[in-house]
Symmetry: C4
Subunit: 236 residues, 4 copies
């Protein structure tokens, strides 16, 4: 873990202004993903890093309609995933952070990450089911792979790990963080949770959105191909 967690004297106003910008961007992202069908039923969570050191994320609160996010449907969380600001006051009408906030945090601890997006799509769910027992799959040879940060050629093999779904988010977060820093395995741009959804990230919200689009496009191509071949959700 290389992230600097020591508090620094960061100016307040730029931080607030960054939060407002983050909220505005995430609300617009919610409308867009909802319209695509990737964030229906109040599913999904989105975050933007609003302060690097100490780490603070603006995260969608638990259970909000992503197609109609309001300015106060967000919580600010710290390095440990706990809410900061007035959000630890014992009022019940405060938005609460989602249990999955911890997954955002362990991803955002990587210094190069400025935004984390989690979505639920039909094709992502089907692929996570199909390849779940194998623990992941590879995507290769598609031009669209070049939309993933740093990928310069279609002749790239992108590994997509799949984690078993669980309601024990701290345990899952530990596994995810371990995988993110496991240098014996290929670097990744995202991962699936089985029968649950996709996590990806980027240096900023725009890049994270681009990654969602790239994964969703490739998931649909791969899913339709496997379905046409009579392989999808047969024993792998």
């Amino acid at each position: 873990m290389s992230t600097d967690t020591e508090p620094k004297c960061s100016p307040t106003h730029p931080a607030l202004s960054g939060s407002e910008k983050a909220i505005q961007g995430l609300r617009e992202t919610g409308q867009y993903f909802f319209q695509r069908g990737w964030s229906v039923g109040t599913s999904s969570n989105y975050s933007v890093v609003v302060n690097r050191s100490p780490l603070q994320l603006m995260v969608t609160a638990s259970g909000m309609d992503k197609g109609r996010l309001k300015p106060n449907d967000f919580v600010r969380c710290n390095y440990d995933g706990n809410q900061v600001d007035g959000s630890n006051m014992p009022t019940t009408d405060q938005p609460r952070s989602s249990a999955e906030t911890l997954l955002h945090v362990v991803i955002a601890r990587m210094e190069e990450v400025g935004s984390v997006l989690h979505t639920h799509s039909v094709w992502g769910t089907l692929l996570s089911d199909h390849f779940g027992a194998k623990g992941g799959f590879e995507i290769e040879d598609y031009e669209m792979l070049k939309g993933l940060a740093g990928v310069k050629t279609h002749q790239h093999v992108e590994h997509v790990p799949i984690f078993e779904n669980t309601q024990d988010i701290p345990k899952l977060s530990e596994k995810v963080e371990k995988r993110l820093h496991d240098e014996s395995q290929p670097p990744i741009h995202g991962f699936l949770i089985r029968n649950h959804g996709l996590y990806t990230w980027g240096e900023d919200l725009d890049e994270a959105r681009r990654h969602i689009e790239i994964y969703e496009f490739l998931f649909e191509v791969l899913g339709r191909k496997l379905a046409a071949q009579g392989k999808l959700c047969q024993s792998v």
Copy 2:
């Protein structure tokens, strides 16, 4: 049946205001569902409980275009599914209640229900065909199940009963009401009518909409999975 049906002295103006809010919400819901393809061809019916005791629902009138609902495309119905207010006057240009209003009513008689939504989707139709002879099916192990009220884990088994389609709505309503109150069977959040459509509900319009989204997402996942496996609409 635990619903209190005795008339109480409820103030008129809040009720009217509630009606206006209900109509506004249902018109917006219609535009949204129409755009998704879940309410085309003037299909579907939506309702909101505007008074609990005595029970009164604001329901979409018969045969209206759900993508372009106008403020007067609604009727107010009572516990028995009959229109109230001026709607029993012998004028022909009054909107009339749909025959299926009675289905809304038997669902809305449950005290915890504030809104009932009925839609017609392609995947719902295909699943109702596929599982129709069995009278229903189960959905389990998907994270999206947690979007159904009260479900706390993906390790949930949701039963989706399927009723045979009929034009005898009173008879169907009786069957539905019996199933809703049959404590020997698992509780449900919605049901299908074979080759017809989905009924679901919620404590308010937002929750009912969320349930529609959850069912439609899961129907598409399950439908595509069965299709890919070569099972959909083969003999079950």
Copy 3:
């Protein structure tokens, strides 16, 4: 043929006003169908009857982008499919009527028809291919059938004739008109042209739109069912 074709003294202004209303409605219909993917690539033609006797239709001109129809992208045609008004002047920048106008005309000659809509959809094309050699197919037992004018129960069998595609529109129009008036065969609400598209109609534009929606919904259901069964576009 029972349509009265003798010219009557019809007031000019209401007719003009009807034309403007027709054009407005068809422009909006074009945007909607284009967005659904049923009228892309300048395909499709729409018409509204603006005068019954003598018969006059406002029809989309040839080759216009249906998603961006302008007020002058229409021509007025008569009982024989010829353009009326200033449109027979030898100017080249006048919009010209589509060759398929004649198909609109033979349908609109039926007195109960106020609008004719022709669209090109993926599922309609696939079904027209699949059932083309048989010359048609039946749709039955779906609640959505009740969206077709006069159908009161899902226990209805709707025949969908399929005509072979041809560029000889007068010959095709003759076949279509013969079928429309052939009382030895079941009445229909629309038909397909093989590997080409759908024609349907209604007493007004709203009803014709509803019929398009009903057919498209049912085509998708039937197409997905046949595909899942491994039958679609296999030898029938």
Copy 4:
């Protein structure tokens, strides 16, 4: 190669005005294609010929979000694919031309071409995979083929060549240009790059857009047909 490449005295203002019109049209095209899912993840490139002699194209710059193109997300390129105007200044915040600009250029060198559009779609990708080893495929007998410029009947056979994907764009451009001018082979309206995307063109932006719509419609029809037949992405 018949294109006149000698510089002529072309008036500056109409050219500038043409550029502004080109940019406006391409920005709107980007929003539209993005919404259809044909240009997600910053994929795709679009161009409009803003001067014929000497040839100058307005091309989308590298890596821009096609759903949110800004007025300065474009570069002006010449006959050789090099940027003109101030774009060869050593500033880093200038938008840069995409590597694929050269493909636009070799197509736009044909005098009848006013616009080139390149998109990435799911069905195009699947067909390019399916038919890639054969180097192309034919589409015939669909009415929608008449949306391709100059095609007058559905009884047309349209050849769709498929080029192997590569990051060596100059080499690919050479192959493409050779094919475009190879009179021993049937003329084409577009081509695919394997597991990458579609290129098509037209005498102006409207015609190029229409061609994209026609190809995408026909790719979906053909892709769904092959999938239903159990052939898609099996050995051809």
